[in-house]
Amino acid sequence: MKTVVKLLLLAVAAQLPAQQIQFNLDHLAGKASNTVDVSLNGTMLQFAAKFLDGKDSEEAQVKKLLEGITGIYVKSYEFKTEGAWAPADLDRVRDQLRAPQWARIIDINSTEDRQTTQVYVRSENQKMTGLAILVSEPKELTVVNIVGNVDLNSLAELGGHFGIPKVETPPQKK
């Protein structure tokens, strides 16, 4: 009987999403003019990878990026008016990123366009196990959690695709 219960628990655990932070932002969907909600666990990512065309350069790059990633979770909201989201909405996410496994590697506050960008990296045993990106603007809120070993260079390189201009890194001074 105990074995059956253990197996059931394992089966339930296997179905649970591997999301490392809870967004709790669903209440904003009703106010948003544009919403992107992506929630893909490891199984779905492996499944999606089979549909990526290795001959297409962009898709091949994404396919390579997916190696080592076990979950992608994105919530992105665009609003028509300011004040649709409250700072507390983002604070609830930030609080979870205060856990010792998480380290903030980038924190940019732009007073000019009132945009804040924060990038957090999760590591365990000196190995990267997750990435979180928080971007807020008066009319936009985006939270990303990528679970697994994320190749930041590859991900940033994708900035050159999808119609987003690639930022050329200046040559390093010797």
Partner: protein, 93 residues
């Protein structure tokens, strides 16, 4: 009424079937049974094919949807990281 009773008795009298009747009926029944059975198999096979086809179609739809979600997620995450890179470079100038 005697003639009527007589007619009825004759009409309803037990008659032995012609020789070979049982064999003919059995043969017909077997032939009909086989036809019904093959029709049933055909219907089952068709249902299985339809189910398998719709299952494969649904799996394909799920896969394409998952792929689109991955591309959207990477587009957003890559785009935001690109913005970060941009800002860091601006500050470094």
């Amino acid at each position: 009424m005697d003639w009527l009773e007589e007619e009825l008795r004759r009409a309803l009298a037990r008659k032995e079937p012609e020789p070979g009747f049982t064999a003919r009926v059995s043969a017909r029944s077997r032939a009909g049974g086989r036809g019904a059975l093959s029709r049933r198999w055909l219907a089952t096979a068709a249902s299985v094919l339809v189910l398998a086809g719709s299952g494969a179609g649904y799996r394909w739809y799920q896969g394409v949807r998952a792929k689109e979600q991955v591309m959207a997620a990477v587009r957003i995450a890559g785009g935001k990281l690109n913005q970060v890179q941009n800002r860091v470079l601006e500050v470094a100038k």
